[in-house]
């Protein structure tokens, strides 16, 4: 059975000006003039061209350059990369979404203008907070005023600007977090991702927590902050469409939605993941290694799980299609409803407040339908 064409393209830039203490992504803190960045970008360009020649990019509808910090590699390298993309992917396709991540410290007016000219139409800024104290705890390379400047500059060209905000950070009060939410909304961004700080193994924060020098994020505070985000942002017309994602109407990330709706994606660059599938099998490959190899039942279970991370949940039709492969899926969903994780409203199964906050129970039970 042939494989479905890729609809989403992800490109990873594994470089940052410095490594933040909480970060466990694949990235290296190296200077902007380091030749290793040149070599890496050359490889990306070649890989993009190869994929294009193989026909893998002909149906791409969303492109996402993430990191790391893509803005850290500077304009000249970015322009080669973006140029290579423009001759490989039909960037003029109707509705095509092209996101690039940037950090406030390395984004300036010129970069905003030039990447816009080269086809990027959505900017995602790693702001995290507008509170200098909190930014210091996180070890970010920018301060609040730099973040405000970057957002203003971005909004001069880009209508579609997203920022990341973090909550549950030791020392971050609810007031501080609420002020950051309001400031983001008032500055005019269209999309906000809200993540509670998680202590990942082998990070500096992990060591600090183990040494007792940093308080572990508090579950109650995190819950409070996540609810605060939903309440405050809805005042400004944002809708929560996924566990951690809020958008003004029409500004939901199409690329991220692809990850959550079983759309095949191609990843280029170090540690980027590619998902390939057909009606029988779904595989994920990272750095040449198969990290997932799912059969149809497992695919259905995974899609249900990912579906329940979205506010629109799973439709009756979707569920009955899953039941063709996993007959017990309906009973499982009804049981989750009985336990307060899910509501059944107007032909859709959607997460409740408990389903948002304590989703892991629900997710693992859905995955267990096809272990």
């Amino acid at each position: 059975m042939p494989y479905e064409p890729y609809k989403a393209l992800y490109i990873h830039i594994p470089f940052c000006v410095k490594r933040c203490g909480y970060c466990d992504f694949t990235t290296h803190a190296i200077a902007q003039d380091d030749v290793r960045i040149d070599e890496y970008v050359e490889h990306l360009v070649i890989d993009i061209r190869r994929s294009a020649k193989a026909g893998d990019l002909s149906e791409i509808q969303t492109v996402y350059i993430g990191g790391g910090t893509p803005s850290h590699i500077g304009l000249s390298r970015l322009s080669s990369l973006l140029y290579a993309l423009s001759v490989s992917v039909d960037l003029t396709r109707e509705g095509l979404e092209f996101t690039m991540e940037a950090n406030p410290e390395s984004l300036d007016e010129r970069m905003v203008r030039d990447i816009w000219a080269l086809g990027v139409n959505r900017l995602s800024l790693g702001v995290q907070s507008f509170d200098d104290e909190v930014l210091k705890v996180l070890g970010r390379a920018h301060d609040a005023s730099k973040a405000r400047d970057a957002i203003r500059v971005a909004l001069e060209r880009f209508e579609n600007v997203s920022i990341d905000l973090m909550c549950g950070i030791p020392g971050q009060s609810s007031t501080s977090f609420e002020e950051s939410l309001r400031e983001a909304a008032e500055l005019g961004v269209k999309h906000i991702s809200v993540y509670p700080l998680t202590i990942e193994p082998h990070t500096r924060f992990d060591q600090l927590v183990l040494a007792g020098e940093l308080d572990e994020p508090d579950e109650d505070t995190e819950a409070e902050h996540m609810e605060l985000a939903e309440r405050v942002l809805s005042e400004y017309g944002f809708t929560r469409y996924e566990v951690a994602s809020y958008a003004k109407p029409g500004f939901e990330s199409r690329h991220n939605t692809a990850y959550w709706t079983g759309v095949p994606y191609l990843g280029i660059g170090r540690s980027a993941t590619t998902m390939t599938q057909n009606g029988e099998r779904r595989m994920r490959v990272t750095d040449g290694e198969v990290v997932d190899d799912l059969d149809r039942r497992q695919m259905e279970a995974e899609d249900l799980m990912l579906g329940m991370r979205l506010s629109r949940g799973v439709s009756d039709e979707r569920l009955s299609k899953a039941c063709e492969f996993i007959p017990e899926a309906l009973a499982a969903m009804e049981e989750l409803a009985g336990e307060g994780f899910v509501d059944h409203v107007e032909g859709r199964w959607i997460p409740t407040r408990q389903g948002w906050l304590c989703g892991n129970d629900m997710y693992s039970r859905l995955l267990e339908l096809a272990p």
Binding site: D220, T273, L357
Partner: protein, 609 residues
């Protein structure tokens, strides 16, 4: 593989030397055994594998010997004669003392190993006493002389002063490098007497170990005292009365070599083809059916378990497999006893008796590892004697069996006589610790200027609450410990109940001295709060005695448990994380609607006073 006997004169025991190696744990006994095998050419150096005689995985991993082993070694001495050595390896841990006494009964001599860096320790004393009581010739050996911290003179002085064993001729040895092993082999030839027995008398052979082999039936390790036993003989096991055909006899070198016979003085194995190890009881005497001996050899006293714990399968369908696994282990471990037990919280399981905490840990580990069982163990307890007002006396193995307080006249608990050897500087901390465990000081002797022997009486129930680890840590590891039962004494004991979400959980209750009930109740309620994860609803934890609540803590309801980031490769990672969480859940036991991790049932062992 069958091979003709190679020993010197079939019926003359003058060239046989039967001996054990005894030592405090970690003093290098197993390494010394390995070196003897190597230097006598019994095992080629290339086949050497550390601690060859420790056959179980757990023995090698933990560096301890649990079961006795007997191996035959031929040694050509400096006098040009070839001798048959039977080396019987014995466990060094206090829990397995009974195995030591069994092995010693099969020997004429013992090599007493003392670590030159540590000197005489409590188990050295205990084992030396056992060897003296068994009338064995003792060869002192000072081991680890290659280490920079070794002090052979001090060790020698301690052997003479503390054990009253002449140590002028003590062998100085490094089992690690092999230095001094030759001296030991010569000393064995000259100092350990040959066995004395009557070849022409009716067969009498002592069973000092037996085990079940799935392919061959019950195999006995025996020491022939009089007469001779051959393949094809019909033997009678005197006290049990079993009669069976001998399918094979032989010796371990250390792989098994079949022999024509085992005769006076020999140590070897005997294959019976019987299916039940209880028919070949350790300590019993084997004789011939056709020409039976009239008097059995002195046997051993039965070992009694001292520590009891409830073992429950996490999944209900593993009850039968657990039972079968216990039966299999008991085939080779007469000290392991059990009876079925039912808990409201945990369902069907077993109350299992052990010799001590190490024995318990080893058995639990073997059940999980060798039989693939997923088990939940409750906090260990001891056997209490309850005298009821109606004059009846009952033995409790589990807090659940405690009668209503109104029916109780008084309760008695087992006491130990505890011997601690420690440098003088650490007597203070030992006093503090042991007093806090309801110990009473009995006596103190200076064995030498560096070692004090302190004798205490203390309840066994306090000993099993982590006493040994705390003793070690409060004395920087210097203290060593030995103990023996000192009978039952009345105590003011109460049953402390633990309630989760308002319901008493029988498997969490324990028996405690009334004066400690409040503190322990508080400590355990706090500990359980740490151990029990937050659930979808609030879970109050209470500690109560006879309906009176002494302590209360609360596990708050879960507020947030969700993976926020879920893009591209995150999906695989989260999948794995969720699977791991699911595995973690499998290690939990649902009690009512509360998910309780296994370690909660051992929480009492982990609380600070």
């Amino acid at each position: 593989m069958s091979q003709a006997s190679s020993h010197i004169d079939q019926h003359d025991p003058s060239h046989i030397r039967n001996f054990s190696i005894i030592a405090h744990i970690d003093h290098g006994k197993s390494t010394l055994s390995d070196r003897i095998l190597e230097q006598t050419g019994t095992v080629a150096a290339r086949d050497m594998q550390e601690q060859l005689l420790d056959t179980m995985d757990i023995e090698r991993e933990r560096g301890i010997t649990i079961k006795s082993q007997a191996v035959r070694v031929n040694y050509t001495a400096d006098d040009g004669e070839t001798y048959e050595f039977n080396l019987i390896d014995t466990p060094g841990h206090v829990d397995f003392t009974y195995e030591v006494s069994r092995s010693l009964a099969a020997c004429e001599g013992a090599v007493l190993v003392v670590d030159a860096t540590q000197g005489v320790e409590a188990q050295t004393v205990a084992n030396a006493m056992m060897a003296m009581n068994a009338d064995l010739e003792i060869i002192p050996l000072i081991n680890k002389i290659d280490l920079p911290a070794s002090d052979p003179d001090r060790a020698r002085a301690q052997i003479e002063d503390g054990l009253a064993i002449p140590a002028d001729d003590a062998v100085l040895c490094s089992a690690k490098t092999g230095e001094g092993v030759h001296d030991l082999l010569e000393s064995i030839v000259y100092n350990i007497p040959a066995p004395v027995g009557d070849y022409d008398a009716p067969l009498r052979a002592l069973i000092f170990d037996s085990y079940f082999d799935a392919y061959r039936g019950v195999v006995a390790l025996i020491r022939v005292v009089d007469g001779c036993v051959r393949k094809g003989d019909t033997i009678r096991i005197m006290q049990v009365g079993t009669e069976t055909l001998v399918e094979e006899v032989g010796a371990r070198k250390p792989s098994e070599i079949a022999l024509d016979d085992l005769s006076v003085g020999d140590v070897g194995y005997l294959v019976t083809g019987l299916k039940d190890v209880a028919q070949v009881k350790v300590g019993d005497t084997i004789t011939l059916k056709s020409r039976p001996a009239t008097k059995a050899l002195p046997g051993y006293r039965d070992v009694k378990p001292m520590v009891f714990t409830g073992l429950y399968p996490i999944e209900g369908d593993q009850y039968e497999p657990l039972k079968e696994a216990l039966e299999k282990l008991a085939l080779n471990d007469p000290a392991l006893v059990w009876e079925p037990e039912t808990s409201h919280a945990l369902g069907f399981g077993f109350r299992v008796g052990f010799l001590g905490l190490l024995h318990m840990e080893v058995i639990e580990e073997r059940l999980e590892r060798e039989f693939g069982l997923n088990l939940l163990a409750t906090a260990p307890s001891v056997e209490y004697h309850v005298l009821k007002k109606n004059g009846e006396m009952i033995s409790l193995h589990s807090p659940q069996e405690m009668p209503d307080p109104s029916e109780i006249e008084h309760i008695e608990e087992p006491y130990l006589r505890v011997k601690i050897l420690v440098p003088p500087d650490y007597v203070g901390p030992v006093m503090d610790l042991t007093n806090s465990r309801r110990g009473t000081f009995v006596n103190m002797n200076y064995l030498s200027s560096t070692t004090v022997e302190v004798i205490w009486e203390m309840p066994l129930s306090e000993m099993i609450l982590d006493y040994f680890d705390r003793l070690k840590s409060s004395t920087k590891g210097y203290a060593s410990l030995d103990y023996e039962m000192a009978g039952y004494k009345p105590s003011k004991l109460v049953k402390l109940d633990i309630l989760l979400a308002g319901k008493p959980v029988d498997a969490l209750s324990f028996i405690v001295h009334a004066d400690n009930a409040y503190n322990r109740g508080n400590a355990i309620a706090r500990k359980l709060k740490e151990i029990i994860p937050r659930q979808m609803f609030e879970v109050p934890i209470q500690a109560a005695v006879g309906g009176r609540v002494l302590a209360r803590t609360t596990v708050k309801a879960k507020r947030k448990d969700v993976l926020a980031k879920c893009y591209g490769g995150d999906i695989s990672r989260k999948r794995k994380l969720l699977e791991k969480q699911k595995e973690g859940k499998k290690r939990m036991k649902a009690i009512g609607s509360v998910e309780v991790p296994q370690e909660a049932f051992m929480a009492i062992l982990k609380v600070d006073d």
